[in-house]
């Protein structure tokens, strides 16, 4: 499918965001407890990781549906970044989510 652009920068941002959100949830958040394991926040972290993984997967396949998934990915990454800012002490997650949201928004345009 030569007419589908594979943007390795966006794939890398999705993979990094997926790993960072998952690792942070499973280690930092569970260790900290309190608002870090509040249901809405914690579920958002894991669901963001899952959507980023799936976005990377479709892009790696050169799928025509990458754009649709990148749109959802940009939205959940922004929501996750907002939630991490509210909880505080999660600067790395905020940064990778914002970066991933930005490149996914471009892909979805």
């Amino acid at each position: 499918m030569s007419h589908v652009t594979i943007d390795s920068e966006c794939i890398k941002n999705c993979s990094t965001c997926s790993e960072t959100c998952f690792k942070t949830a499973m280690n930092h958040c569970l260790q900290m407890g309190g608002k870090h394991v509040e249901p809405d926040h914690f579920k958002l972290m894991l669901n963001c990781a899952k959507v980023c993984e799936t976005s990377a997967c479709l892009q790696l396949s050169g799928s025509h549906f990458s754009h649709h998934l990148c749109k959802v990915c940009a939205e959940i990454c922004d929501a996750c970044a907002d939630s991490c800012e509210r909880v505080g002490d999660m600067d790395e997650c905020v940064a990778v989510c914002r970066k991933c949201a930005e490149s996914c928004r471009k892909m979805a345009a």
Copy 2:
């Protein structure tokens, strides 16, 4: 998150569609060869399986983003059903994809 509906019927349709597409691609399509492993068709089968799995995952979490993913899921399921119809001899895949597309479309509405 009591205000998020968990529709176990749609989750079941997504899980069944994911397993059926994956199993059919990995066994039937690879055995048959020819148009069954034509890149666009084969990638669609695996990507459809992945998006259905992710849609089930978000619904199981009661995520607010389930609706967004169900929308993409309905589209890729319909595209996969169309492709399976063109290839032929894939009635089970067509049926589960159409059923999943229908329930995801209702969830996304």
Copy 3:
């Protein structure tokens, strides 16, 4: 690969165990808090869900490596069942984990 047995009962047990552990962690455990989100227990629930999903995936593919993964799957399912028993109030998880462990152990033999 006609010489690889596809046991649809074990696949179903793995899929059910994966969904039940994930759904229970994301809803019941996060709502309850306390010992339900204690790091070792909560991580075990999610990792068990992941390994069960992967075990189902390899079995659906008719992979020669299914047996190896079923062995690991039986072990993590038993560990997850033990942890759920200690935490208490998680009877459904205990039951699906024990059932999955049993069928995986047979597959791995």
Copy 4:
């Protein structure tokens, strides 16, 4: 779980191997056809990608079961590298599989 070592090098090798095998299967192999889509070879590429992803996931969680999964991962990576060598023209896949197998073997020891 302070007594579980998180080896970021092995996690990176697993993630890279997973992405490379998946991307190569979905693009190079499907484009080339012939022995590149022979069932045993193609399934091994996708199953190797899945096991590597799961190995990375458990290591990112600091799971006590990482060692068990790293053992399976080393075996499927070596099998995938062997298969890629037989098919030929897949040097990148061979290299990342060998590298991943080596670091997983150390983790499993």
